[in-house]
């Protein structure tokens, strides 16, 4: 039983290493107003775009999502039916937790803080999946008999 949607195993580590710089870039952009000047574009009046647009945040978010997708969709070394089962169960779990937390956050955070919640919420389904999936696998591994 082979799942066609998965990437080779090495993407788990590639994704993780690539995620860190994009995350740092995103946080610097959000909280320290850091911008990569080369990514500033000027559009003519009457264009559908805002006249001056810096694309640092777009780059950071796209990079973060793609790298987390790599980690999430990387095949395990031996991807078999139990791993596949755990994978699907973890997606289900991640979606549920994500929306429960979103509902709570909707009632707890307001204004600017809620914008942050929405922003993090773009990445949390993937992050919850990665944590849950790897936690179950490592818990199972710890209980394996030692040879």
């Amino acid at each position: 039983m082979r799942s066609k949607l998965l990437l080779p195993h090495r993407f788990k580590w590639i994704g993780l290493f690539v995620f860190i710089p994009f995350l740092v870039l995103g946080l610097l952009n959000r909280y320290k107003d850091f911008k990569i000047e080369a990514l500033t574009f000027y559009y003519e009046d009457g264009s559908i775009f805002t006249p001056v647009q810096n694309l640092t945040d777009e780059l950071a978010l796209t990079g973060s999502i793609i790298s987390l997708l790599m980690v999430s969709f990387a095949r395990e070394k031996q991807e078999d039916e139990f791993i596949n089962h755990t994978r699907l169960e973890s997606w289900q779990w991640a979606v549920l937790i994500n929306f429960v937390m979103l509902i709570i956050a909707t009632w707890v955070f307001y204004d600017e803080a809620y914008i942050d919640v929405m922003m993090y919420n773009l990445l949390t389904p993937l992050i919850f999946f990665i944590i849950r999936f790897n936690w179950v696998l490592s818990k199972n591994k710890r209980s394996e008999e030692k040879i």
Binding site: D80, F82, I83, H85, L137, E145
Partner: protein, 66 residues
């Protein structure tokens, strides 16, 4: 569902890793089945039964509530 894989392995003097190799799954899978955390597919159950030279029903038995 209960199973006697651990006992069958002991009879054949196999480790979890040996069994995993023989039927082409990860050690994780064997461990999860032995600790009743995962119910294997019919294909996997048949492969194990064949390896141990027994009928599937001798290795896997239904529990109350199944």
């Amino acid at each position: 569902m209960q199973n006697t894989i651990k006992v069958e392995r002991a009879i054949k003097n196999m480790t979890q890793a040996d069994l995993a190799d023989k039927i082409g799954v990860s050690r994780q899978t064997i461990n999860a089945i032995e600790t009743n955390r995962y119910v294997p597919s019919t294909i996997l159950a048949l492969k194990m039964a064949r390896l141990f030279g027994k009928a599937v029903e001798e290795i896997f038995t239904l529990e109350k509530g199944d």
